[in-house]
Amino acid sequence: MLIKKAADLRESDVTPKETFLRRREFLAVAGSTALAVATNGLGADFIGTPTALAQNPAAQKLSNLKKSPFSTDEKLNSYKDITTYNNFYEFGLDKADPGKYAHTLKPRPWSVVVEGQCAKPGTYNIEDIMKYAPLEERIYRLRCVEAWSMVVPWVGYPLSEFHKRFEPTSKAKYVEFRTLVDTKQMPGQTEPALNWPYVEGLRMDEAMHPLTLLGLGLYGEVLPNQNGAPIRLVVPWKYGFKSIKSIVRVRFVETEPVNTWKQQQSAEYGFFANVNPQVDHPRWTQGSERRLGEFFRRKTLMFNGYGDQVASLYAGMDLRKNY
């Protein structure tokens, strides 16, 4: 006797609901985009999460992604959550602003200037940068200093792979990153909300740590503008503001860079900005957080749950002072 069993998995089980519900919208856009993508020479595999394509016909699917052992198996936040709730003051102070206004950013063509203490300074094209190392999917927790968090399926490769190309010298103790300054592309920069350009930095050992990711994509596609297209940093054990977006300049330096939020309010935001439930923000608790999609708060984990991998970087340091 043949007993028919239902398949274990349905399409709706692996696809975020938002995406699933928008599949028709995608199909409409896919037709017009297929040609463009095909001529770009990318393997156009459209099955999966096409939402960026629906929103932004210029978006490209990234294929042959390696799975990473560093990925968490926690429930992903939806594409909609991740692309409509952003702190990216270059496009406005409200979290919905970047999703609405970041279309003015032109992520292609794009180049990154590499300079400072390295053997191979120069200007490098984004298309080349994307090929420096095999792309991986890395599902990381993201914890904002404002005490909310998400789970994001990034695409990218380790920042160390990027750095090795330029052969930093022994004088390179830190690396500094800068975001684009262009009031036409980033209208929020007409307001002096922060000191533009946005600046961030890492100690060299942090930059070379295997968890530190050069972010190039999201949900299997190139980065949407509001998430820092075309190239950003992802440092999962630090508060979100360390993960600088839309990078145009990388500089290897001898001294600790003064990052934007530290310039702004050094009593509240420091250089290290490691997620630390024991060290509160002067005005609010860092002991717990609200994961988007959940109603009650959950406990915040030391180093955002990446302590096993990164705690040794800070051995002997007073994390209360070096917040």
Partner: protein
């Protein structure tokens, strides 16, 4: 229609409708799933800002009455104040239930430790006796003079509410400052009038 008719049939429903609209919109958008990626934050911010707006609106009524001579305005002070308390209660409960799961220990730790919570909690708690004694019966029981004195607590609520907002924002304090200016004007007018009356009596 007589003035009483206008009051009962037109102005009163308009005021109620205006005060209920933010809550209705919140409810509607909630059911539509349109409260954004962080619905709890949207609910907290919306109920919080409407508490402050209605407090400022309530504070504006008396100066406006003085300035325009439209004494009718005083009839709506109570309802505006009660709606401020309504939104304040929703705001507080959102925080108390969703952030603290109704645990008093955690709430108290926050109140003692975080200045913006201290200010917000003070503002809310001081509204409770005002809401309770808002009825005509209580005005009679307390006597107009004592009742007026008690209800000056709303000045502290307003100032604490603005501070709460000011201390909470991460970067851009423009809006808290606007509300601060509003409260300063409406309280300043009262001080100025009281001072002028005193001078008048003296001369």
């Amino acid at each position: 229609m007589t003035q009483t008719h206008w009051r009962q049939r037109v102005f009163k429903p308009v005021v109620w409708l205006a005060c209920l609209t933010p809550a209705a919109l919140l409810l509607y958008n909630g059911f539509q799933g349109e409260l954004g990626a962080n619905p709890v934050e949207t609910i907290t911010n919306t109920t919080g800002i409407w508490t402050l707006r209605l407090i400022v609106a309530g504070l504006a009524i008396t100066p406006l009455r003085w300035a325009t001579g439209v004494n009718l305005l005083i009839n709506y002070r109570r309802v505006v104040g009660l709606f401020a308390f309504f939104y304040g209660t929703l705001h507080f409960l959102t925080y108390f239930i969703l952030d603290h799961q109704l645990e008093f220990g955690g709430l108290w730790d926050d109140v003692v430790k975080r200045p913006y919570i201290t200010a917000g909690f003070t503002a809310f708690v001081l509204m409770i006796p005002l809401a309770v004694t808002s009825t005509t019966g209580w005005i009679r029981r307390l006597g107009g003079k004592r009742w007026n004195l008690l209800h000056r607590l709303v000045y502290i609520t307003a100032l604490a509410g603005v501070l709460h907002y000011f201390w909470k924002v991460k970067l851009d304090a423009t809006y808290p400052v606007y509300y601060g200016i509003g409260v300063a004007i409406f309280l300043g007018v009262r001080v100025w009038i009281a001072y002028s009356k005193k001078q008048l009596r003296r001369s």
